[in-house]
Amino acid sequence: MNEQEVFDKVVNILKPFVRDQSALLQVTKETSILKDLKVNSARLVDIVLEIEDAFDVQVSDEEADRVRTVGDAVALIVDRKK
């Protein structure tokens, strides 16, 4: 799975958590999950669980805390899949 495929899959996972769906039209690696996509911060727990399931990886609480942008999440997954 290349980086673009991981990116697309992450955006797809984020989709149901995004209140303003129009924000997804301009999503880039720099897009902030909380500030730009306005995801309810309580739901980050659920997003991590879905990423773990979708990519068959384990994400520690500390690693999850460092994820701010869509690109952070993609980088974490790509690194884990090496």
């Binding site: 149901p16 958590f17 995004v18 209140r19 309810n40 739901r43 980050l44 727990v45 659920d46 669980l49």
Partner: protein
């Protein structure tokens, strides 16, 4: 002390086993349409009672009211409450504030009760994962679905409510108690508008305990529409139901300022408990408590008992129905000839537990507004103790344009009672004047 304010009903929302929305629900009431159906999942779980009342078409309906993000954190109890509350809010001509609005509506609140709450979420998700040692896999949405206040809390966010938001719970009295409490808050000037009512999900986990108590009718699995039989000689227990009913209560000043349509006035209400004394227990009502509750509501409403045109009873189809009518007779001190009409909405819906009072208050107000009395089905074989009242218990709906006052009561486990008096709105004041609409 300032004079108490008048409280009126300006919006209604209902999601019932026999219809969603005011038009479908009032049509169902008029037609005597039962919402009770056979449910395979109850048979699979070896329930003795395999029929129940579950609102239909909700999977499709919910997407018109709620986003995916909202739905993933909601169980049926919360979804039902949200649909009924949004409907009542819009029916009152109020706007739904979007998430990004700067401030909530500080003058509007909600008391939306539930009897059992999110026990299905506990049984299906929380308990299994916790027992498997997978707490970290529960996700973020457990607490908001299992906290008792989950239904009202969600509605607060959906509508931007800034006044008191709470969930009451008093078993089968819940919905009616919510209406009494919310009206009182407006009457005393603490809020201008309150959503009031109740919701209950459908789940084998919600209903199993009642089946185990053998208080559900197990004799009509083959004929579901005949299963809920309040006031019948062949009544053999209640039929579980689910759904939600919500009323938008409003101060008369606020309603008139907005030019809102007024369905009815909440003249007064009363709640109490029989204290498990004098024949009362956890599961049986103290008749003196019931009578005091009815009398208390009438006194608060400032009416005479003979002004009541219709009783929308609790009437579940257990052994208690004749005792309930006995308590009404003792409280009203009216002979059978002068007795109000009596009806059992549960004959059509089953017993929606914490939602029952809310749904049945909506049914009461709709009948006042439209001038009809819905029939009670499945009691052609009237219980012998009720024979003197036979002429006051219509089996088919009848038009009654003169319908003015309805007494609605609910009684619940815990020996708790609630009664509320609705009257067709009269603008000149409680004592005199022409009917406005």
């Amino acid at each position: 002390m300032e004079a108490e304010r008048r409280v009126v009903v300006t919006g209604l929302g209902v999601l019932a086993p026999n219809g969603h929305g005011l038009a479908a629900f009032s049509d169902a009431l008029r037609a005597g349409k039962s919402g009770i159906r056979f449910h395979q999942h109850l048979a699979d779980a070896k329930f003795a009672c395999q029929v129940g009342g579950i609102p239909e078409g909700v999977e499709e309906l919910q997407n018109r009211y709620l986003t995916d993000e909202e739905l993933r954190a909601m169980n049926p109890n919360m979804i039902y409450a949200a649909i009924a509350a949004i409907d009542a809010w819009k029916d009152a001509g109020l706007e739904r504030l979007t998430h990004d609005s700067v401030a909530p509506d500080w003058d509007s609140g909600a008391i939306l009760g539930t009897g059992i709450g999110g026990i299905d979420t506990i049984a299906e998700k929380l308990a299994p994962k916790t027992n498997e040692g997978k707490v970290s896999r529960l996700g973020s949405t457990m607490v908001e679905q299992i906290m008792s206040s989950g239904n009202s809390a969600r509605v607060a966010g959906l509508l931007g409510l800034g006044n008191q938001v709470s969930t009451n719970s008093s078993a089968c009295t819940t919905g009616t108690e919510a209406v009494v409490m919310a009206a009182e808050r407006i009457r005393r000037g603490f809020a201008e508008r309150m959503l009031a009512g109740g919701s209950e999900g459908h789940s084998k986990y919600i209903w199993a305990g009642f089946d185990a108590m053998k208080v559900l009718n197990r004799t009509r699995n083959e004929t579901p529409a005949e299963a809920s039989r309040p006031m019948s000689a062949s009544a053999a227990g209640f039929i579980p139901g689910s759904g939600a009913g919500a009323l938008l209560l409003e101060s008369l000043e606020s309603a008139q300022r907005r030019g809102a349509r007024i369905y009815a006035e909440v003249l007064g209400g009363y709640v109490n408990c029989g204290g498990h004394r004098m024949g009362g227990s956890m599961t049986a009502p103290n008749p003196t408590g019931v009578q005091r509750c009815i009398r208390g509501a009438i006194a608060r409403a400032g009416i005479r008992p003979d002004e009541i045109d219709l009783i929308n009873g609790h009437l579940t189809a257990t052994f208690a129905d004749p005792h309930e009518i006995g308590s009404w007779a003792a409280a009203l001190e009216l002979s059978p000839e002068r007795f109000p009409f009596v009806q059992a909405t549960k004959s059509l819906l089953g017993h929606a537990l914490g939602a029952a009072g809310g749904i049945e208050c909506v049914a009461s107000v709709l009948q006042l507004d439209q001038g009809f009395v819905h029939g009670s089905i499945n009691c052609e074989d009237l219980h012998p103790a009720l024979a003197p009242y036979a002429a006051r218990i219509p089996h088919r709906s009848l038009d009654l344009p003169s319908l003015r006052v309805i007494a609605k009561a609910s009684f619940g486990f815990g020996d708790v009672n609630g009664c509320v008096i609705f009257r067709k709105f009269v603008s000149e004041g409680p004592a005199n004047g022409q009917v406005d609409r």
